[in-house]
Structure formats: structure tokens, C-alpha cells
């Protein structure tokens, strides 16, 4: 890099676009290190250090305090044989997948609606964004009341068997309530991202296309969808990241129940302080981390093939 050379005459400093900063100073103002320091220090102490410690602990039989010894991969092997943990993974992954699909579908439709020529566009958008700013656990408590009191009443009145009792108490249906409330809260941010995406499509494209006699369906299929594909990927990546860590809403709705049917991986990990499971749950956390990374990489790979925009 050119900055490695001695103080250069001003003429050399003029370099083509991208990084206009380059090659100006040969010595860095020490104050810049001071600017960078707080973030590096808190990040290292609060994330890197715990991550390294946790990784080391996962190979021990520690209960969170006192002496511990290395036991190799025994925790990891045990995790793979633990039905409770495997079911938490099963629940979390399928919940995340279903929620991503529901959120993207609804958010995209709302965004289409809000970018079309509707009345009260701003007011409607204001209302649709509200769920994003409400605490997950608080709204989960509100829905918990509705699911366990109001919905059964409606189910009884309409004679729908499965709905006539609280779906939160039904091990087969409780996850649907969690998908519903999570989607309720997550749709706004996905919707705003889709709106941003739809606004990048120039109106002329549609005009030209309709002059050629294309149907609205054709436009949606061949112009809108390909152009917002990149935004769909952003929503999927961000969504998966959030849903895999699902916690607040589940605590408010079912607290993992009935039984352990809706216990997420995060809830399983947090039980590490109960019953001396510390190192064991750290092994679980390491596995969870690797799975999250793999899912993120798969999604990014998939994007490249689709030619989406850079996330």
C-alpha cells in the first residue's frame, strides 16, 4: 500500500475514487488508537473472552464453579444423545423455518400494498410498524391471555374442536401460537426492507413493460420478484438469526411447555446453571454456534447464485 512510503508529494496523494483516505498521512495520529480502543476493549472482554472461556469449559466437567477436569469430547457426544436437547433443536429449527416463510410472505404482500396507490399510505405504514417497537415478552403475555381465554371461547362457539381449549396447553399446537406472535412482531422490519427494495424498481420499467402488453402478474413474476430477491435474502438471513435465538416470546407464551414441547435451544442453554449442567450446556452452545454459522453460510451461498444485491 502506498502509505508505506515516506511522506509523498501532494500530487501522488491524488488517487482514484474508492478509498479517498489513502496515502495522505504517513503517520497515524495516536488519538485514532484512543478512538478505537473502547470498542475493542469492551468487545474483547464481553464477547471474545466469554466465547473462549466457554469453548474451553465445553471440554471439561465444570459445574460453573470449583475444580474441573478435561474430559475431551464427552459433553459433545452426550449432547447428541440427549433427547431433550435434540427435541429443542428440532423445535427451534422448524419454528425458525416456518416463521421465516410466514414473515416473508406477509411482509412482502404488505410492502406491495403499501407501495401501490393506496390512500392513507403513511398512516397505514405507521400502524403496521408498531409491533416492532413492543417488548416481545409483554406482547406475548397479552396474546397468552387471548389464546387461553378468548380463542377457546370462539372455538367453542364455532364448534372447532382443537380450538375449544387453549392451544397453549396443546403440545401439538402450542408452537403455532409462538410462530404467530413472533411473526406479528417481526413482520414490520421485514416489510420496511421490502418497501425499500420495491422503491428501487424504477417506475419506467413497469411502464415500458405494460406498453409491451405485459399483464400485472407477468410484471410481478418477471420484474418485481427478481429485483427484490436480494432483499428476500436479507430478510431470511436476519430472520433466521433472530428466530434461532428465540426466547422472550416463548417465555411469555408457554415457558417451553406444555412439557418441553416448545423449549428452544436458547432456553436449554440457559438451564446450564441448574443441576450442574454448566460445561454440558456450553458444549451445546458451541454446537449451536456452529449450526448458526453453517445456516448463515448456506444462505449467503444461495444468494450468490441468485445474483442478489450485496447484503
Amino acid at each position: 500500500m502506498s502509505s508505506m512510503t515516506k511522506p509523498s508529494p501532494p500530487a501522488v496523494a491524488v488517487q482514484p475514487a474508492a478509498q479517498p483516505v489513502r496515502a495522505r498521512k504517513s503517520r497515524t495520529d495516536p488519538l485514532y488508537y484512543f478512538f478505537l480502543l473502547p470498542s475493542l476493549v469492551i468487545f474483547t472482554l464481553a464477547v471474545t473472552l466469554p466465547a473462549v472461556l466457554g469453548f474451553i469449559y465445553s471440554f471439561t466437567n465444570s459445574v460453573g464453579f470449583g475444580d474441573a477436569e478435561f474430559i475431551g469430547f464427552r459433553n459433545f457426544i452426550a449432547v447428541f444423545r440427549d433427547e431433550g436437547i435434540l427435541s429443542a433443536y428440532g423445535f427451534t429449527l422448524s419454528f425458525a423455518l416456518v416463521t421465516v416463510i410466514v414473515v416473508n410472505a406477509v411482509a412482502f404482500l404488505l410492502a406491495l400494498g403499501l407501495t401501490s396507490r393506496v390512500r392513507f399510505r403513511t398512516a397505514l405504514r405507521t400502524v403496521f410498524v408498531i409491533p416492532m417497537v413492543i417488548s416481545g415478552i409483554v406482547i406475548a403475555f397479552v396474546f397468552q391471555y387471548l389464546f387461553s381465554n378468548s380463542l377457546p371461547l370462539a372455538g367453542q362457539a364455532l364448534g372447532i374442536g382443537p380450538l375449544s381449549t387453549s392451544i397453549l396447553a396443546n403440545p401439538d399446537l402450542a408452537w403455532l401460537a409462538i410462530v404467530f406472535v413472533t411473526a406479528w412482531q417481526s413482520i414490520p422490519s421485514a416489510m420496511l426492507i421490502y418497501i425499500a427494495g420495491l422503491l428501487t424498481v424504477p417506475a419506467e420499467v413497469y411502464e415500458a413493460s405494460s406498453l409491451d402488453g405485459a399483464s400485472p402478474w407477468h410484471n410481478l413474476r418477471h420484474i418485481t420478484l427478481p429485483l427484490v430477491a436480494g432483499y428476500a435474502v436479507i430478510n431470511t438471513v436476519l430472520g433466521f438469526k433472530n428466530y434461532l435465538n428465540a426466547y422472550d416470546i416463548i417465555v411469555g407464551l408457554t415457558d417451553g411447555g406444555p412439557g418441553v414441547s416448545t423449549r428452544s435451544v436458547a432456553m436449554a442453554i440457559f438451564r446450564g446453571f441448574e443441576g450442574g449442567d454448566y460445561a454440558y450446556q456450553m458444549a451445546n452452545a458451541v454446537i449451536f454456534f456452529l449450526i448458526s454459522i453453517v445456516i448463515a453460510l448456506i444462505q449467503l451461498r444461495f444468494t450468490r447464485g441468485k445474483g442478489g444485491i450485496a447484503a
Binding site: 478505537l36 464477547v47 410498524v129 387471548l146
Partner: protein, 295 residues
């Protein structure tokens, strides 16, 4: 939806302000009606929360969530206020949010400035990617050691939670700020340096004010995230008396028992501040999210 009904809304999210003339604007009535019906999905739960909060305990237990309160009473609010010790919870939540907001803005803006201006230095470049790595480390993965460490450091309190909020938002915020800083021409800064201003002065007098809109976005999201969070405070803060408002809802859930009116009054007081802040600042909420996505 037909192509003729499309337009580009002129709002804070659109960078190109292009509007078709009013004459060609045809309002899509079916779509409007459909969207209005859809708002019920948002409004009904909020309506239930508000109406339940104003009911008497007698009416609240009758099972009809959708009835209007009669008689209308403020009793549930006073009871929820004293039962959960709302003023204390509120003060603690405000404390956490203020530190998270100020910290997220200042720490990430400083780091982003240092990184952008020294991109040719390996240390700064690598620091950037190091900080970005945080995006791939979710809280649950490091939670257990973190709980231990915060306990050992005497940070198992609201201050510790505020710091963790700053840390977990660091990657995203630094990315937003660096993207924005790259678009600020260096000439502005150089004329100021010509006049003898040092880096410190340049940052606070020139760069930080220029970052204003981005800081607003970062700050609002910091507020919403820290005000609403349950996971971190519930695990990090060891003393229940020092808990934030969302965690208090969980702690008092059993004590609310069948006094749904008191529970809902408490929920309403918990969600109101974030909704109010959102309604007052929506411009930045909208633009911030889309900037974050596109950059």
C-alpha cells in the same frame, strides 16, 4: 395489483423523490380497504390491552376481552403502579436505555471514524472485521460465561446490561457509521485541519454533527432494543429489585393471577414509552432500517 396503480411514495425512505402528477394518480380502493382490514391484526391486541387496563377486576374476569370498560376506572393503574413498584423499574429501565443509547452512538462513531480514516493501516482494517464478527455470535452462545464474568466484575446489575447492549449492537452500528463516513468528503476535514484543528476537534466539531441523522437512527434503535429486552436483564441482573420493566412483568405474572385488569395496566405502562418514542421519531425508524439493509 396492476402496474398502473404503482407509484413511488415520497417518504423519508425514498431517496429519489419522483412522483407522478396528481392527475394520473388513481387510488387503488380495494387495496386500501384490504390494508385497513389488515391493520386490525395490529390494533385489536392493542385495543384489548388498553380496554382491559381500564376495567374493574369484576369485569376483567368475565372472559370477554373485547368489551368496552364499564365502569371505566383507573384503579388498575394505581394498583399496578404500587404492586410492581413501577417508579423504580421505570428509573432502572431509563438508566439502562440512556447508557445504551449514548454508549452505542459514541463508542461506534469513534471507532468508525478511526477505522475509515486509517483504512490503509492493517490494525484498523482488521479491527473492523474483528468487530463485525460479533454479528455471528448470538447472546445465548456466550451467555453462561458472561453471567459468570459479569458476576465476578460486579457488573451483574443494570450497568452491566447496558454495556452488553452496547457490545452486541457494536458490529451493526459500526457498519452503519463507516458506510456513512465514507460518503463524507475529506476536503471538509482538511480545510479545518489547515486552520490548525486537531483530530479531537475535527471529530467533535465537524464529523460528529455530520453524523447526526445516523446517530439518531442508531439511538432510537438502541432505545427500542434496550427498553424492550427481556433476555439479557433476566439473566445478568442478579437482584430482582434492580430489574427492568419487561422482567418485572414476568416476576409479577403469578401475583397478577386473575386480576387481569392490573396485569394489562402494567403491560400498557411497559409498552407505552417505546410506542410514544416511535410515534415521535418514526422518520428515523423508517430510514434507519432501510439504510441498514441496503448498505
Amino acid at each position: 395489483m396492476s402496474d398502473a396503480t404503482r407509484t413511488i411514495p415520497a417518504g423519508p425512505v425514498s431517496t429519489r423523490k419522483r412522483r407522478t402528477t396528481a392527475a394520473t394518480e388513481r387510488i387503488n380502493r380495494p387495496a386500501t380497504a384490504l390494508l385497513i382490514v389488515c391493520t386490525l391484526g395490529v390494533l385489536v391486541p392493542l385495543y384489548v390491552t388498553i380496554s382491559m387496563a381500564f376495567k374493574t377486576t369484576g369485569q376483567a374476569v368475565d372472559g370477554n376481552a373485547f368489551s368496552l370498560p364499564s365502569p371505566l376506572t383507573l384503579d388498575s393503574f394505581t394498583q399496578a403502579w404500587t404492586l410492581t413498584n413501577f417508579p423504580r423499574g421505570f428509573a432502572i429501565s431509563v438508566f439502562v436505555s440512556v447508557i445504551a443509547v449514548a454508549g452505542e452512538i459514541i463508542v461506534s462513531a469513534l471507532a468508525a471514524y478511526a477505522i475509515v480514516r486509517n483504512w490503509d493501516r492493517r490494525l484498523f482494517r482488521w479491527s473492523f472485521f474483528y468487530l463485525l464478527a460479533a454479528m455471528f455470535i448470538p447472546f445465548p452462545v456466550v451467555a453462561l460465561p458472561q453471567i459468570q464474568l459479569t458476576g465476578m466484575a460486579g457488573l451483574d446489575n443494570p450497568l452491566g446490561v447496558a454495556i452488553l447492549h452496547i457490545v452486541f449492537a457494536l458490529a451493526f452500528n459500526t457498519m452503519l457509521f463507516t458506510a456513512f463516513l465514507r460518503s463524507i468528503p475529506l476536503e471538509l476535514e482538511e480545510s479545518m485541519r489547515m486552520d490548525g484543528a486537531g483530530t479531537w476537534r475535527v471529530f467533535w466539531k465537524l464529523i460528529f454533527p455530520l453524523l447526526g441523522p445516523m446517530s439518531a437512527t442508531v439511538g432510537i434503535f438502541a432505545f427500542i432494543a434496550s427498553w424492550n429486552d427481556f433476555m439479557m436483564p433476566s439473566l445478568i441482573i442478579s437482584d430482582p429489585e434492580m430489574q427492568t420493566i419487561p422482567v418485572l412483568q414476568k416476576i409479577f405474572q403469578t401475583q397478577f393471577s386473575n386480576s387481569y385488569n392490573i396485569a394489562f395496566a402494567s403491560y400498557l405502562m411497559a409498552m407505552a414509552p417505546a410506542i410514544i418514542v416511535y410515534l415521535l421519531t418514526q422518520r428515523w425508524v423508517m430510514s434507519g432500517l432501510t439504510q441498514g439493509a441496503v448498505k
